[in-house]
C-alpha cells in the first residue's frame, strides 16, 4: 500500500485532461479504501470488524499519510460510528463508513433511522454471515436482513466494481431527487481479500464527476440556519396522519427516483472512465435462453463460467445478476425474467420463514408482473464463506433445467450441504 501512496499524490482537484489510469494490485478492501480517497469525504468513522478490518486500517493509514484529508473518528462501536456520521452529515459533511455482520446488527438503531433522515451517507458492507453458529466468514445474511430499512443497496461482482461503485454511490446518494444512504456491498473473503489488478481513476476526473458535497440542504444542524431536526410529528394527532404519510411517501419516491439516477450515473461513469456495469440487472447470455440463474454479488463469476460451460454443451441457459436490490429494479427484472421459462435463484442467505433465499422471494414478487407463469427454484449456498464453485453452479443449472418439464419443488436446494 505504501508504494501506491507514493505513486498517487493527492490531486489538486482541478479539471484535467483524461489521464492514463494508475494500476494497482490489491484486494477489495484496499480498493474500497481507494474509492473513499477518491470521493473526498469530510468525515470517516469506522469500527473494525472481520472481514472489514483491513478496510478500516487502509482508511486510517491514508488519513495518517495525508492521502485522505478527512476527519477520522475512532468511535467506540458501530452504533456510535453511524451516529457520528448522522451529526456530521447534518452539519454538511460527506461521510463514509463500513461494517458487516454483527457490527451492522449493533449499528441497527441509527441504521434504521438514517434513510428516514434522508442522509446521503455511503457505507460499505463487507458481507458476513450472521452468528450463531459462531462465524467470521462471508455471506449476505447481514445485508439481506436489513433490506426493508430503506437504504439503497448495491452489490458488486468484482474488486474493480467495488472501487467504482463507491464513487458512484456518492452521486446517487447526493442526487437531490434521491437523498438516501447507499450500501455498497462486497462479499467478505472473496472480494474483501481477493487480490487482483485494478485501475485507479484520476482524482481530478473523479472530482469533476462527483462535484462538491451536497448533503444538508434539506435538513441542517447549523446556527446559521437554525431549525429543529426531526421533532415529534404528533403521529396520528396534531397535524394528523398526513404528515407522517408524507414522509413515508417521500422516502418511497426517493427510492423510485434512485432507479433512474443509478442508471444515469452508471452511464456517465462508463462515458468518463470507460468501465460499463449493468446498473440494475445484468443479463448474461439471456436472449435465447430457456432457463436462467439469478445471482447477486461475487458468485456471478463462477456462475458465468458454469453458464459458458453449459452453453458449450449446447444448453440454452443464461444468467441474471442483480446489482441493485434496493430499490428493487422491477421493470428491468421483469424484462429479464420474461425471456425464460425456468428460473433458479442462488442465494447466499436464507429467508427463515419462507424456507428459501431472500433474493428468491424478491424474484417471486417480480414474477407476478411477468406475462407468463415461470417456475422459480430456490438454491442456497456460500453460507459462512463456503465456496460456490463452477461445479456448484453446474448443479444449479441442472436443477433449474428440471423445472422445464417437472413441477417446481418448494424445498430449497442446499448447494454446500454435502461439502466437507
Amino acid at each position: 500500500m505504501s508504494e501506491a501512496v507514493e505513486k498517487i499524490a493527492p490531486s489538486t482537484g482541478s479539471a484535467v485532461a483524461k489521464k492514463e489510469p494508475r494500476i494497482l494490485v490489491c484486494d477489495g478492501n484496499e480498493a474500497a479504501a481507494w474509492g473513499v480517497v477518491l470521493s473526498r469525504p469530510d468525515m470517516v468513522a469506522v469500527y473494525p470488524i472481520t472481514p472489514q478490518s483491513s478496510l478500516a486500517e487502509y482508511v486510517a493509514q491514508f488519513v495518517a499519510d495525508g492521502v485522505l484529508d478527512a476527519e477520522l473518528v475512532e468511535a467506540e462501536g458501530e452504533h456510535s460510528v453511524l451516529s457520528v456520521l448522522h451529526g456530521a452529515a447534518l452539519a454538511g459533511a460527506r461521510t463514509y463508513t463500513a461494517s458487516c455482520g454483527q457490527g451492522l446488527a449493533f449499528m441497527f438503531e441509527p441504521y434504521f433511522r438514517t434513510p428516514n433522515l434522508r442522509l446521503p451517507i455511503v457505507m460499505s458492507i463487507v458481507n458476513r454471515d450472521g452468528i450463531t453458529p459462531q462465524c467470521v466468514w462471508g455471506g449476505q445474511q447481514d445485508a439481506m436482513t436489513v433490506r426493508e430499512v430503506g437504504w439503497v443497496q448495491l452489490f458488486c461482482e468484482t474488486v474493480q466494481e467495488v472501487l467504482d461503485t463507491i464513487v458512484m454511490a456518492y452521486r446517487i446518494a447526493e442526487d437531490r431527487s434521491v437523498m438516501l444512504p447507499v450500501n455498497v456491498n462486497h462479499d467478505g473473503n472473496y472480494l474483501s481479500n481477493g487480490i487482483v489488478r485494478i485501475e485507479l481513476p484520476d482524482q481530478g476526473e473523479v472530482d469533476d464527476f462527483l462535484g462538491m458535497p451536497d448533503v444538508n440542504w434539506h435538513a441542517a444542524l447549523d446556527p446559521d440556519r437554525p431549525m429543529g431536526v426531526d421533532p415529534l410529528t404528533g403521529g396520528a394527532t396534531g397535524p394528523g396522519p398526513a404528515l407522517f404519510v408524507g414522509y413515508r411517501r417521500g422516502h418511497c419516491e426517493g427510492m423510485q427516483n434512485a432507479l433512474r439516477v443509478i442508471v444515469e450515473v452508471h452511464e456517465e461513469w462508463a462515458r468518463r472512465f470507460g468501465r460499463r456495469y449493468a446498473p440494475l440487472v445484468e443479463e448474461y447470455r439471456l436472449d435465447d435462453a430457456d432457463h436462467a440463474l439469478v445471482t447477486i454479488g461475487s458468485m456471478a463469476g463462477a456462475a458465468k463460467d458454469a453458464v459458458d460451460a453449459a452453453r458449450d454443451r449446447g444448453e440454452r441457459v443464461g444468467l441474471i445478476r442483480i446489482k441493485t436490490l434496493r430499490p428493487f429494479p422491477l421493470d428491468a427484472m421483469v424484462a429479464a425474467l420474461d425471456k425464460v421459462r425456468a428460473i433458479g435463484v442462488v442465494d447466499r442467505a436464507v429467508s427463515y420463514g419462507w424456507n428459501s433465499g431472500p433474493v428468491h422471494q424478491e424474484t417471486l414478487a417480480a414474477l407476478q408482473h411477468c406475462r407468463h407463469r415461470v417456475p422459480c427454484l430456490s438454491l442456497i449456498g456460500g453460507l459462512a464463506g463456503a465456496d460456490l464453485t463452477q461445479t456448484h453452479f453446474e448443479r444449479a443449472i441442472a436443477e433449474t433445467a428440471k423445472l422445464l418439464d417437472a413441477p417446481c419443488p418448494r424445498e430449497p436446494v442446499w448447494l454446500n450441504a454435502e461439502d466437507r
Partner: protein
C-alpha cells in the same frame, strides 16, 4: 441594571458580638450610639441563632410601594434611597418592610435605613467572623437575565419542575451559536424540539436517539470545526440517556476528548415516561418498575455515581451542581463551557422530580437544597489540571433522614433500608473527601473543605 449589591448574613457564623452595630452607628451618627445603627443583630431564640434586621435593598421594595409620598425609591445603583424632602413621617414604610430594614430614629426624628455606605459598608468591614458579606448576589442572575432566553415561553414541564430553570439558564449562557441535542426524556417532552412543527427553542435542535447523543454531537462539532467554525455542541440529557443506555456513546466521546458540553439532568429515573427505574435511582426508592410489595421494597441496588465515572475518563471538566445553589451552578457552567472548547465537559445536575419522587410542587428547591445539605448530593468539581475539589463543606451534614422524609418515594423505607442509605451516603462522601484530599494545595492536604473559589459564591 446589571448588579444589585446587597449585604448577606450568615446566621451560623454570627456570635452576636454587635461590632457591626457599633461600626454602623459610628459611621451614621455623631455619638456612635448603637441605637443609631441601621443594622440590628437580634437573638432568635426559637431558631437558636442570631438574626439580622437590615434593609435587603429589595428588587421590588415594599417600603417604597406603600409609601404615599414617593419618598422611597430603588435607584439605578440598586440602593433603596430615602428622600427627606418628600417624607411625611407617616412611618407606613416601617410596617411595609418585613425585614425590619427601615425604622424610626427618635434622635433623627425620621426613618433611617441602610445606604451601604457608598459601596463600603462599615458593618461588613467590622465583622470578623465572616457573618456579613457585601456581595452582588443578583449580579449573575441579572447579567444572565439580560441574555436572550433561547427557549420559547410556555414549555410544558410538570408544575414545580426545576428542569425548565436548568434549560433556560443554561441556554441563555451558552448562547445562540450552538447546536442543542435533547435526547428522549423530560426535556424534549417539555417541548425543546417542539410539537406539531413548532419548535421549542431558537437554536438548531435535534432529538437524537436515547443512545447516541454524544456521538451525534461529535460529528456536528467536528464538521463545523473542520469548516473553521466554533459551534458549541450542547447536550441536555437525562440520566437514562447519559448513564444507562446512552453511556457507551458518552464514554466514547469523553475518552476521545470530543469538544462537547454535556449536561446531565439527573432525576434518578425515567420520569418522562412514568417514573421507571434507572441506574441513577437511589437504593430503596419506589419507581414504577421497582414497586413496593410483599417481596420487594423498592430498588434493590445503589445508584451508580455517574459524575465520578465521568471524572475517571479524564475529562477536561466534570462537576455536580444543584438548582438550590445557583451561583455555584453558574460558576460551574461557565467553567464547563470554557472547558468544552478544549475537550469534554460534563455537568451533572441534581433535579428533584415533583411527580416521580412524590413531593409537593412548591418544594422542589427545598428538596434540592436538603439533598445537598445532607450530603445525599455532594457538590464538587474536577479540572484535569487541579483534580477534584469540594464546592462546600461536607463534614457536618444534616441527617440523611431530613432528606428522605421529604419524598414519597421513600415513604415505605424500613430502618434497615434507611441505615443502608445512610451508610451509602457516608461512604460516597468519604470517597469524595479522599479524592479531594489527594489534591495538594499550597503544600497542605485538603480534607472536606471547599475550594477558595467556590466558598465565596455559595449560600446565596
Amino acid at each position: 441594571m446589571s448588579a444589585t449589591p446587597t449585604i448577606a448574613f450568615d446566621a451560623e457564623r454570627c456570635d452576636g458580638c454587635g461590632d457591626c452595630m457599633s461600626a454602623c452607628a459610628s459611621a451614621k451618627s455623631t455619638d456612635g450610639n448603637t441605637a443609631q445603627s441601621r443594622i440590628r443583630i437580634v437573638r432568635d431564640d426559637e431558631a437558636g441563632h442570631w438574626g439580622v434586621a437590615l434593609c435587603r435593598q429589595c428588587g421590588d421594595p415594599r417600603c417604597a410601594s406603600v409609601c404615599p409620598a414617593a419618598a422611597l425609591a430603588k435607584g439605578d445603583d440598586g440602593i433603596v434611597a430615602w428622600d427627606a424632602e418628600r417624607c411625611v413621617n407617616c412611618l407606613i414604610c416601617t410596617a411595609g418592610c418585613t425585614f425590619g430594614g427601615i425604622a424610626f430614629s427618635a434622635d433623627e426624628g425620621h426613618v433611617v435605613k441602610c445606604d451601604q455606605c457608598a459601596g463600603t459598608p462599615q458593618c461588613v468591614t467590622a465583622c470578623t467572623r465572616g457573618a456579613l458579606r457585601y456581595v452582588t448576589a443578583a449580579k449573575l442572575y441579572n447579567r444572565w437575565g439580560e441574555l436572550e432566553d433561547l427557549f420559547v415561553p410556555g414549555l410544558g414541564g410538570c408544575q414545580g419542575c426545576n428542569t425548565e430553570l436548568i434549560m433556560r439558564h443554561t441556554l441563555r449562557r451558552v448562547g445562540p451559536n450552538t447546536v442543542l441535542a435533547t435526547p428522549p426524556g423530560c426535556i424534549p417532552g417539555m417541548g425543546s424540539v417542539g410539537y406539531n412543527g413548532m419548535l421549542g427553542c431558537k437554536v438548531p435542535v435535534f432529538h437524537p436517539l436515547l443512545t447516541n447523543t454524544a456521538s451525534m454531537l461529535t460529528g456536528i462539532r467536528r464538521q463545523h470545526k473542520r469548516k473553521g467554525r466554533n459551534v458549541t455542541a450542547l447536550a441536555l440529557a437525562g440520566d437514562g440517556g447519559a448513564g444507562d443506555v446512552g453511556f457507551q456513546s458518552l464514554s466514547g466521546a469523553a475518552e476521545r476528548g470530543e469538544q462537547i458540553l454535556f449536561v446531565c439532568v439527573d432525576n434518578e429515573g425515567y420520569m418522562n415516561t412514568g417514573a421507571q427505574r434507572s441506574g441513577s435511582t437511589t437504593y430503596g426508592a419506589w419507581t414504577a418498575t421497582t414497586p413496593i410489595g410483599d417481596s420487594a421494597r423498592g430498588k434493590a441496588q445503589d445508584a451508580k455515581n455517574l459524575p465520578l465515572l465521568m471524572m475517571w475518563h479524564g475529562c477536561e471538566y466534570v462537576a455536580t451542581a444543584s438548582t438550590a445553589f445557583m451561583e455555584d451552578f453558574y460558576a460551574k457552567l461557565e467553567a464547563a463551557l470554557e472547558a468544552s472548547e478544549r475537550g469534554f465537559a460534563y455537568l451533572h445536575l441534581y433535579s428533584p422530580c415533583t411527580s416521580g419522587w412524590r413531593f409537593p410542587s412548591a418544594s422542589n428547591i427545598e428538596v434540592a437544597r436538603t439533598a445537598v445539605e445532607t450530603n445525599f448530593a455532594v457538590l464538587w468539581e474536577y479540572r484535569r489540571e487541579q483534580g477534584l475539589t469540594l464546592s462546600r463543606d461536607i463534614d457536618d451534614p444534616l441527617p440523611v433522614t431530613d432528606y428522605l422524609k421529604l419524598l414519597g418515594k421513600f415513604r415505605h423505607l424500613d430502618p434497615a433500608q434507611i441505615a443502608h442509605i445512610e451508610r451509602h451516603v457516608a461512604e460516597q462522601a468519604q470517597v469524595l473527601c479522599e479524592l479531594a484530599g489527594m489534591q495538594p494545595r499550597e503544600g497542605e492536604r485538603i480534607v472536606c473543605h471547599p475550594s477558595d473559589s467556590m466558598a465565596v459564591d455559595l449560600d446565596q
